[in-house]
Every structure is written in structure tokens, then in C-alpha cells.
């Protein structure tokens, strides 16, 4: 029986490695994401806030003082001539712009981009207070110092370090939903399982063989991604590699089984794609792959911790970014494990060859 599982596993690997395109994407996609976002947001915890500054016809000392203060509060200032600024506003690309208005200034915020614009406006106001104080000869205003650290306090890390575990998780989910679930639905649709159905091969061995093969892919993928992260951004695993392995195995088992279970609910590839996307995008957006969920309602923040991706990412980040042990993350791992087991049992029960 172990032999059967082994053969199934080896065969899956062979079939997989012969599909060059699929293999390329499995590895290239997360690396491209990491490099792309990592470079774009190289500076720190995300993009700098920007403000459009409408250039006055004749700059005054007051304008110079404001510009200097805006630079000091880390705003990215984009000076534009009035006509240009108006055109940019018209195209809807401007979140906030500041323009001279009589004795003072006026802030114009784009109603669609209030989160960005509002934060920028706050900084402009702060800069303006500083500029006024200086113009009036008041003593130099004091500011509260800001420090950037990771939650575990290990190391001030960059955005790429936050992103990397997110991508690992995202990829597990996409292998599970698409490379496992989708592939099996299309195999069933094309009748490729019918020949297996007349052999005594137990379904669970077939499923387990696939899970094990996908597990090795996902580990290989993690290795590639971590190497690229290290070479390009100096990100390193802060925790123990054994803990990391444990977390990855839990996550893979969970998402692979999820794909299987889901594949038994769809008759055709099209309907499967619809179901899978319906799950994939909300889970991706709500589970903190790219950004944290701070602005979501509290109930939603609680709800996603019961879904598999969010606890997986929390644990993975704790180990990878902050070098934490697994002791404090028993509940999160238990949630992931419960999803894995539940999904696998459901898959074995429901999976049909034809």
C-alpha cells in the first residue's frame, strides 16, 4: 500500500513536470509578484502618500516654507502648473491637491480616494502649522518621533518581508483550488478517471498521492521564493526551519484537500471555475495577503480568523518574520488542521471517478 501511494506520487510528479507551462507559472508567478511589489514598495511599509501642489504664478516665501515642511512630513509632493493639475484632476488620478487661496490654501480631496486623500490632507495641515510657526518666528515645533518595527520586535522589516509569506499562502491556495481542484474536474469531465474506476485503486490513495506531490511542489516553490527574497531584499527566515516546515505542511494539506473536496461539487470545468473564483478572491482579499485588514469591520476581522488562509498566514508570518515558536499558535494551527482533515474526509466521501 505504501508502494501504491509512492507510485501514485511519482506518477503525479512525472505528469506535472511534463507540463512545462504549468510548472513555469507555479514558480515564476510568486517570484514575479515578490520582485515587482517588493521593488515598487521598497521604501518601507507601503507607498508614500502623495499630494498635488498647484504651482502659483509667483512663488512667495510662504509657499517655500510650506513646501519645505511638506517634505519634512514625508509627503511626496507633485508640483504641477494649474492647467496640468486641472487635467490630472479631471482624469481622476489625483487623490488630493493643495492650492493657494487668498491668504491661505485650499485642500481639494477626491471623494473616491478618501483614505489616501484624507491621510495626505492631515499631513498637509501638519506641514502648514509648522510653516506658519516658522514664518511667525515661533520656536521650532517639536514632533513625535516615529519608529518602524515588525510586530514580533525582531527586526525592522520591509514590505517584501510582509509580502513573502502572503504570497506563499496565496500560492498554496491557488495550487489547491486550481492545480488540484480544476485539474481533477477537467479530468473527470474528459473521462480520464473512468479507466481508474474499474481498477481496485482506492480513491484515498489516489487523492493522497496527489496531495503529497503538490506538497513537494509547494515546498520547492517556497524554497525558490525564499531564496529570491534573500538575494533581492535580504529577507531571511527568522524562525526555525522545522517550525516553518510544519506550518507549510499544514497549509498545503489544507488547501490541497480543499481543492479536492470542492472538485466533487462541480460537474464541468466552467462551473468549477466559477465556484473556485468565488472563494479565491474573497479569501485573498480578506486574509491579509497584501495588506492588513485594519479598515474592515471588526466582525469580519474575527470571521476570517476561522477561515483557513488567515490563521495560516498569521502563523507563517510569526515564524518567518518574527522567529516565534509554534507554542503560541496552537489554535491557529488547529483551525488549519481541522479544515485539512474535514476537507480530506469530505473529498474521500464525495469524490467520484465518473
Amino acid at each position: 500500500m505504501v508502494m501504491m501511494i509512492w507510485r501514485q506520487f511519482v506518477m503525479e510528479w512525472k505528469l506535472y513536470s511534463r507540463d512545462r507551462m504549468a510548472m513555469f507559472w507555479t514558480f515564476a508567478f510568486p517570484v514575479a509578484m515578490l520582485l515587482g511589489f517588493g521593488v515598487i514598495f521598497r521604501g518601507g511599509g507601503g507607498p508614500k502618500l502623495s499630494i498635488v501642489y498647484v504651482e502659483p504664478a509667483a512663488p512667495s516665501p510662504r509657499d517655500a516654507a510650506l513646501l519645505k515642511a511638506m517634505d519634512e512630513v514625508q509627503l511626496k509632493v507633485m508640483p504641477l502648473a494649474p492647467a496640468e493639475a486641472e487635467a490630472r484632476w479631471g482624469r481622476g488620478e489625483t487623490a488630493a491637491e493643495v492650492l493657494a487661496d487668498g491668504e491661505g490654501y485650499r485642500l481639494r480631496l477626491n471623494s473616491y480616494l478618501m483614505a489616501q486623500g484624507g491621510a495626505a490632507a492631515g499631513l498637509v495641515n501638519q506641514a502648514w502649522l509648522m510653516a506658519q510657526a516658522r514664518l511667525n518666528g515661533a520656536p521650532e515645533p517639536k514632533r513625535i518621533p516615529v519608529s518602524v518595527e515588525s510586530p514580533g520586535g525582531r527586526k525592522a522589516s520591509n514590505y517584501a518581508a510582509f509580502l513573502l509569506p502572503g504570497l506563499l499562502g496565496l500560492n498554496l491556495m491557488s495550487i489547491g483550488l486550481f492545480s488540484v481542484g480544476m485539474v481533477n474536474v477537467s479530468y473527470r469531465e474528459k473521462g480520464k478517471f473512468r479507466r481508474l474506476a474499474v481498477t481496485p485503486l482506492p480513491k484515498w490513495i489516489f487523492l493522497l498521492g496527489q496531495v503529497l506531490q503538490r506538497l513537494t511542489i509547494s515546498l520547492a516553490q517556497a524554497l525558490v521564493l525564499m531564496t529570491v527574497g534573500w538575494l533581492a531584499f535580504g529577507i531571511q527566515n527568522q524562525g526555525s526551519y522545522l517550525d516553518l516546515l510544519v506550518v507549510m505542511v499544514f497549509g498545503t494539506a489544507c488547501f490541497m484537500s480543499f481543492g479536492f473536496a470542492l472538485s466533487s461539487f462541480a460537474e464541468t470545468s466552467e462551473s468549477y471555475a466559477a465556484i473556485a473564483n468565488l472563494l479565491f478572491f474573497p479569501l485573498m482579499l480578506l486574509s491579509g495577503v497584501y495588506f492588513t485588514l485594519d479598515s474592515a469591520p471588526r466582525w469580519l476581522q474575527h470571521a476570517v480568523t476561522a477561515l483557513p488562509l488567515s490563521p495560516f498566514l498569521t502563523t507563517l508570518r510569526a515564524v518567518f518574520n518574527d522567529g516565534s515558536g509554534l507554542a503560541g499558535h496552537g489554535l491557529a494551527l488547529a483551525i488549519v488542521g481541522a479544515w485539512a482533515l474535514g476537507a480530506f474526509l469530505l473529498a474521500v466521501r464525495r469524490f467520484r471517478w465518473a
Binding site: M4, M11, K192, R194, R195, V198, P200
Partner: protein
Amino acid sequence: MSELALRIHGLRKAFPKVVAVAGVDLEVARGEVFGLLGPNGAGKTTTLEMIEGLTVPDAGEIEILGQSWKRDGQQIRARIGVQLQSTSLFNKITVREALDLYGTYYPKARSTAELLDLVQLNDKAEAYHITLSGGQQQRLALALALVNDPELVFLDEPTTGLDPQARRGLWDVVRRMKAEGRTVLLTTHYMDEAEALCDRLAIMDHGQVIASGTPASLIAQLAIPSVVELTFDGAAPDPAAFSARLGETVEHRSDLWEIPTRDPKGLLPRILEIAEAAGVPYQQIHIRRATLEDVFLHQTGRSLRD
């Protein structure tokens, strides 16, 4: 061990728009080669797939090698070999890998080298399944059906798509299976094949068995041992007038007329005479014995290979 390899009773299967199998009874003895014939859509594949455990019947009993699907599914699967009407494997599996892999699914497996020899795929052993020709895929499917040294083998149109040589090769394989004491249940559209291979036959139409027996008994039952054939160069003309003058039924096929008769000797001079008088532009005239094909056409009222 004279017992039956297969006993089915009252087997039924309805799909949303058609009743594919409408109450089929069959008994196949151990060591027998049994043929299932019938026009397209007669229900042969559906019947086989219910017996193989692929399709759940709506009603009926299946006893297979003394066991039943309900209780002994896994054991039955280990004892039977199946060649589906079309076998779809993973595209990029090689012939050798497929045979090796399927071998591991069974408690006992025949060696891959032996199977490759048997179906003459040695030079394609390392080729991907998707790159095989239709006939080669068919032969691989046959080898897969034999991988577990099965007691009972199901072959659904095993020679469709094979060249004449490969077809004879398959006949040899089937005969060897019989010699080894295996039971074979096959479907075919070739009457010569059925006559050459099968100990007994059942002819199906519209989901029912309409005739069964040995090839010889089926031909004998037809009670018209001979057929006179007039062949034409091109399309055969309408035989109505000729038939009326002759006083015998004349069957109109695309490029020939067939006149079934018990007394070819007595009929032949009259045919020649009337044909001469009416100026029938025939090319040749033959007398032949009735074959299984005549039985089939008579029973189903249709030409087979349409």
C-alpha cells in the same frame, strides 16, 4: 468449476431521454467467448458498463464470478479486466509507465515486457499516450485490460480502428485468453469476427436481446441457407419490377441485389432468364451461404456499418 462467469437478470438503465437497456438477461459460462452484437445505440456499452460496475443499473441483478457488486466490489475489480469503448489516459504518460502504474493497482500483475510483446507495442514503449495512433491506443487499452491476469475480460469494440493485421493479432490474443481458461465478453460490429471468435452471441437492439445462441445455430434459425447476389457497376437499380416477375423478395443494397433462397440451384436459371429478358445491367452473379451478417440484417432490419 462449471459454474457461470456471469449471470445477469432483468438489467435496466434509462437515461433522461432514452431507455438504453430495457431488461437484459444473459448467462456466460466460464471459459466462454461471448459476443454482444447490435447496431449503434443498441445498448451494448451501457450493458457492459453496468456489469463492470461503472454505471449503476436502475434495476436488475448482476452476479459476476459468483460475487456481487454490493458486497465484493474491490474483489471483483481485482478479478476482471476492462477495455472501455474509448480509453482516455493522462496525455503525457508513456506506454511503459501506464502498464507499470496500472500493475501496481492489483494484487498480482503481469510483467510489462510480456504485455508489450502481446500487443506488439515494444517500439512504442517510451512514447506518450497522446502521441500514439488510434490503433496503438486501442492496443494499449487491451494490454491494460490484461495487466492483472484477469479471469473475466470485457472488450468493448476491441478491433474498431485496427488495421487488418492488428485485428488478426487481437483475434489471436482472444483465442489465447480462451485457451488460458479466461472468460471473454466482447462487442463488435464485424460479423466475421463474431463468427470467428465467439462461442455464443447475443444480438441486441433497442436495449433488448432479440436473438442469442451459437453462430451456427443463429444462421440455421434463419432458415434461408443461401443468398444469390447480383452486383452492379455503380448504383443498383430499383428491383421492384424484377422482383414481381421472379416472385421472390429482392433486397436492394446500394450496389447489389440480394435474393435469399432455400433453393439456389432451382432459382438461378430463372434469375438469369428474367434478367436477360428485362435487360438488367448486372455485372456478376454469385451464390453464397447465409452468414451472420444476414442474420443480423434480418433481425435488426438495418445495415450494420451505417
